[in-house]
Amino acid sequence: MPAKKAARRSRKKAARTRRSRAGSARTTALPVPAGPIRNHGLPREDLLAMHRYLRLNRMVEDKLTALHRQGQVVGGLYSSLGQEAISVGTAYALEPTDLLAPMIRNIGSLLVRGVRPLDLFLQFLARYDAPTHGKDGTLHFGNVLKLSLIGPISVVGSLVPVMAGAALAARSRGENRVALTYVGDGATSTGYFHEGLNFAAALRLPLVLIVENNGYAYSTTTDRQFAVGSLAEKGPAYGCAAESIDGTDILAVHAATRRAMERGRRGEGPTLLECRAMRMKGHAQHDDMRYVPNKLLEAWKRLDPIDRFEAFLIKEGHATKDDLESVARAIAPELDDAATRAQESPLPEPGEALRGVYREPGYETPWWPAA
């Protein structure tokens, strides 16, 4: 849906939402009915590769959940269950030289970019051989030179100006790279989001900003976060293109990302892409999300992004049920092996805590080449 149309449509919806809200119990809206998945011309090998990443995304997270239950994971564990099509669809749309920065739920984006499950397990188990030597956890790492990957911090929204700056750097060197990053519905309320997106728009930077509207910011429903129906309505305020798309349809996500990238490469500035989905688990492992109505979860469950994509692949004759199942069968032992290796890997030596605050000639971080 082109930006203006989307904005208009969602504005109407917003008006409706506002009217209805006053009386009703406050909650996040049910999903709009999903249209059929449509291929915009991707060859079978891409479709199957995307399917594999979706499955890998989910299975890596299942493995992490299992490790967490065993008390192996240090700190918190966040899930992207129900949102995998957003991570995979967006990251798969990029060229390898395009700049990518994940937020906490975008483990799928990292997998597409070539981060190994082993690297992730090492991170979550806080081992010395992890990308951060155990100094930070989760997806908090990057590798600009080899993977065009920039690492996040916990502060939501903070990557928006950072990726605008990365895009600026690339442009000033004559490199035709777009920069893509993510915010949640909640993070659109931050000053970071606003200043970063406006900066990118004023400078016409090729930034693709994915808004993962998963209905909740921790426990907070969208209607207590903002008074618009769709976050795509925020695009016109920055003079930038905006679309709202079904985030459980990986091909819709992929196609919209491609459109946004093209706009960026044509010098038309940033695009705001709202991807609608549902956070199907709690905010993190500890959260039983009592605050989410069951009927909401049930409705969204019918829109599982992997189920939907598998049905499409089978229906369109790209794969049989068995083909698809064999993907999972192939991944499982790889992950078992990676998990074992991570568990056997040493924790950092205590003195490592003191190293690398500033540039130290000779000191190597595994993921950042020594200058």
């Binding site: 100094k135 916990s154 907070t220 605050y291 205590p350 490592e352 805590a353 003191l354």
Partner: protein, 338 residues
Amino acid sequence: MTASRGATGRKGEAVTTTYLEAIRQGIWEEMEKDDSVFLLGEDIGVYGGAFKVTEGMLERFGASRVIDTPISETAIVGAAIGAALMGMRPVAEMQFIDFIACAFDPITNFAAKSRYRWGGGVPMVIRGPCGGGVHGGPFHSQNPEMYFVHTPGLKVVAPATAYDAKGLIKAAIRDDDPVIYLEHKYLYRRIKEELPKEDYLVPIGRAAVRREGSDLTILTYRAMLYPSLEAAEVLESERGVKTEVIDLRTLLPLDREAILGSARKTGKVLVVHEDTRTGGIAGEITAMINEEVFEHLDGPVLRVTAPDTPVPYSPPLEEFFLPNKDKILAAARKLNAY
């Protein structure tokens, strides 16, 4: 659910209250007492707060006094300032204190300077969980006190005990100036004690002597009180060093009398803080002691602190990073040798 949820222990046990529950009770009581007190922050209503400090409050006090906000630390603090200028007494929660950096401008430029400039008092509390020890990593473990201790116009408190957690939150809410209330997440459920039934306050600006001694003084606060007390125990039992342990409780304004009095008495002062070293409060205290009671010193003022790094995530790194009993003992022995 009632305010005294935590105050009713299992049958037959003494009624003890956790540090977390003490904060909650303190807020609850002030909410009951004074209509102008209200709460705002992320996930504090429906969810009761990421750590459940505000659990049950939405149900009791309603959505106009327990406000779930968007993720907007600047607006949370900004709105609290506006309400405080109107005579309300807002208590704003930072979900983790690390995110207070996003509200740095309204705190340091607006709230802190308002009364001085035109008399516009800002009776506001900002509180949130600080500190390490739970493998939270660089963004869920910080101790930001010095940013605020160095900002005239603010007050900064940092309770170590359940008694103080309650007494200080109540005093902070009643204070007519902006108070940064820095609680420690490691203590939330690990520390408990029996609390008085009646209303009480812990005055802002007063330290507490946790253990008397005449040979050596340890000045500390918040979570570091506990390893300091352990170290004092060892010093006395193994070496006969009578060690005084003072819990600062308030970091701005510091309790000069308590600090200088003890320094004068023992002549040997060790400052222990979990915050990083350079620019930590030990420096300020050392300067104060130098200025006022230098001639009573038998040795240098020493300090045990976290090193100058972000808070690392992996357990062996974080353990190495945090001060502990052994590090305190090593420094105390060095000092004692003077």
